[in-house]
Amino acid sequence: MTSLRTLFAKPWIWSFLAAAGVWLVTIVFTGGASAAGLSQAALTFAAFSIIVGIGQMFVITLGPGNVDLSIPATMTLAGTVALKIMDSSNGLILMGLLVTLLIGLAIGIINYALIKLLRIPPIIATLSSSFIIQSAAISYNRGLRIKPPSALAEFTTATTLGIPNLAYLALAVSVAAWVALEKGIYGRWVSAVGQNMRAARMAGVPVDGVRAATYLLCAVLAALAGLLLSCFSGGAALNMGAEYLLTSIAVVVIGGTAVAGGFANVPGIWGASLFLFLVVSMLNTYGAAAGIRLLLTGTIIIAVIIAASRRPRT
């Protein structure tokens, strides 16, 4: 009984319950025929949300006003440039990964430089840098559609032991993020900055270093997700990151991370990512229009924020 109560006190439990509920409803509606297929699709698509969501989670945890709106543009630029550099050749995969990493680092540096040196609020800084990044992607790409290297295309679409490879990758990123957050000094610092930046500074937390590292981490994860997504879908597209603007923030909030900062939660991002994908596929099975889907997603996010603000935090 007590163990059940502690389980229900966990901030991530609700997103998992919701995901499981929607999964069941969808399976029942389709007569149980698609259970395996639906689960695999959910894990695959959730993997992208999880990877960008973890970056966004650390940024949001930095405190009120901190959010990275350049994630979609970063995904697009990384996917576009990396595919062109790899030129469908398996021998250039390492080069492509390196370029992805560098793009992420460069965007992270630009974002924090705008925030710190020009004192622009993060929401404006990352939004304006995303216009520049998106323009760079457009001028670089010029409508070309280059196929990904066959090895990467296969890796991103295949499964191992019935579970998509991308889910393993997302798991690895999540475990590393969980360790950094719950066991590492980095997680303590991010949380301290998010609770009270001035107090954190006077307590000896390297505030600028922590914030810069967090924006870098978020951009690098977005770049990685962009590369994976473009390989998964057989080529980069200029609008491929668009839906991750809302998704990256939604999975963080639904997953139990505090919107006002100071408290983060990694497992919740899994539940929330699965849940969001399953809601969309459930509505698809019912044949709902795109407008209804967006409406429902927005309603869910608002409901979660209201519910979360009433819950006493431990």
Partner: protein, 487 residues
């Protein structure tokens, strides 16, 4: 100078006010007559600001009554009633909207200016008063207040208080009005006060520049610990007797170590003073006090000293200085965390291997400090906000003392802490200092300043006096805190 004590315009009778455990006013009575200027003086925390709050209706006393020209009843006294009866205030913290012009601010202050061409009328109201008090002020009323200098803003604020719209100003309360004015402007204002009073108005003047009080006020009221300790005509006071009245019976200095000879040792911390101000120095094993009235640059000095060690980008493995916050909600607490995590945050770099915090060591150290400093809680995992204020402050002390930092900077950390806790912390500090730690301690309480080996007194953002050994006495600190020259 005429005394019209028989003609009171404002009477505060037996007012008491407590903020939590702190008793700010203690059954105080105060009478203001028509046509007099009363100088109100007292050290930090004497209750001056609370009394001002009660007179302008913003603060409601726990007990006692306030009457304004015969209007009985505490219940009904409010900001609106006070304003209707012509009570005006100029506060230390400026209250103008920086994004609006001088004229627009005048419109906000005077609700009666409304309708067609309000802008022209509002400008006339404020400009005529500015011209009257401060001839050649050179202020453009169409300019936004944020673009004005601090002195000009203060002038606008003063002019606004004396200006009239629906009703004339009859009682004007000025809380440190000259703090940002230069000498000649301040003289213009003081001259205007005399003129205003001669015409039958009443003024309450609060200033740390005692000569202003002595030359301008008809009567001086000295406050201490929420009560009036002296009240009489200005002619009955001298600078020395005024300083004496503010202080208490001179308390003996507890267990002062003999002043050590420092001529050939190098200071562990030093900071050049601006122009003629003395240099700040601190030696190993010393408790250095920063004294003076609140808000005269002590906190800024501590923050500058702390920031001088760097560490904004990369955590220092060997931290040089730790900071104990006084305003714990702003500078200290990490409110979502447990007591444990609040204690260990500064120490964290020492507890980390390969980026991972060693939680067992963390808990052991926090536990030992909990016992040593006596944090009253049944578990270190309780949230920090579950503790009383004094115990939260102990957590912040532990945070700094648990580190290896040779320098500890303290920003008036004993505010709102009970006397028992204070005594415990004093002896702890002394023991730590004897082992070679250096403390720089800003305090607004004279008892704490008397615990120090050496004291710097601050006034207007700079050090004005250095005291050591037997010179660290309340009267010396007070004399240096209050300027004796006319500004």
């Amino acid at each position: 100078m005429t005394f019209q004590k028989d003609n009171p315009v404002l009477t505060v009778d037996g007012a008491s006010k407590s903020f939590g455990a702190v008793r700010a006013l203690n059954g105080l009575s105060f009478v203001l007559a028509a046509g007099e200027c009363v100088g109100l003086v007292g050290h930090n925390g004497a209750g001056k600001s609370t009394l001002v709050g009660i007179m302008n209706g913003g603060t409601r006393p726990d007990t006692g009554t306030i009457r304004i020209e015969g209007n009985e009843g505490t219940g009904r006294y409010s900001v609106a009633v006070a304003r209707k009866h012509g009570v005006r205030c100029v506060f230390q913290e400026l209250s103008l909207c920086p994004n609006l012009t001088v004229t627009e601010n005048a419109r906000i202050a005077h609700a009666s200016i409304r309708g067609f061409a309000w802008r022209r009328r509002a400008e006339r109201v404020v400009r005529s008063k500015l011209d009257e008090i401060f001839p050649d002020h050179g202020i453009d009323c169409g300019q936004s207040v944020g673009m004005l200098g601090i002195a000009q803003r203060q002038m606008v604020e003063i002019a606004m208080a004396f200006s009239e719209s629906d009703g004339p100003a009859r009682i004007v309360i000025l809380d440190e009005p000259t703090s940002s004015l230069d000498a000649s402007i301040a003289r213009q204002m003081l001259a205007y006060i005399r003129k205003f009073v001669a015409a039958g108005g009443s003024v309450v003047l609060i200033s740390h520049i005692l000569n202003e009080i002595l030359t301008t006020a008809d009567r001086i009221v000295v406050m201490k610990d929420g009560s009036v300790v002296a009240n009489g005509p200005s002619s009955g006071f001298t600078l020395d007797s005024l300083v004496g009245a503010m202080g208490s019976v001179v308390r003996p200095r507890d267990a002062a170590a003999p002043p050590r000879d420092r001529t050939d040792t190098k200071p562990i911390l030093s900071r050049r003073g601006s122009d003629s101000a003395p240099e700040f120095r601190a030696y190993a094993g010393e408790i250095v006090g920063l004294a003076g009235l609140g808000g005269h640059g002590q906190t800024e000095t501590l923050v500058e000293l702390f920031r001088g060690f760097g560490g904004d980008w990369k955590a220092r493995t060997n931290i040089r200085a730790a900071f104990v916050a006084g305003d714990r909600h702003v500078d200290g607490n990490l409110p979502m965390w447990s007591i444990l995590r609040n204690i260990s945050i500064t120490l964290l770099t020492d507890l980390t291997r390969a980026g991972i915090v060693r939680e067992r060591n963390e808990r052991a150290i926090a536990q030992s400090w909990r016992e040593r400093i006596g944090i009253r809680t049944d578990s270190l995992d309780n949230p920090i906000l579950s503790l009383s204020g004094g115990n939260q402050q102990k957590v912040l002390f532990s945070r700094a003392l648990a580190t290896r930092a040779p320098i500890v900077l303290m920003d008036d950390p004993m505010r709102g802490v009970d006397i028992g806790t204070k005594q415990e912390v004093y002896s702890l500090l002394r023991a730590e200092a004897d082992q070679g730690r250096t403390f720089v301690w800003y305090s607004t309480e004279i008892d704490e300043i008397c615990q120090c080996d050496r004291v710097y007194v601050f006034r207007e953002g700079r050090i004005v006096e250095e005291l050591a050994g037997d010179d660290i006495r309340e009267d010396r600190v007070l004399a240096a805190s209050f300027s004796t020259e006319a500004a």
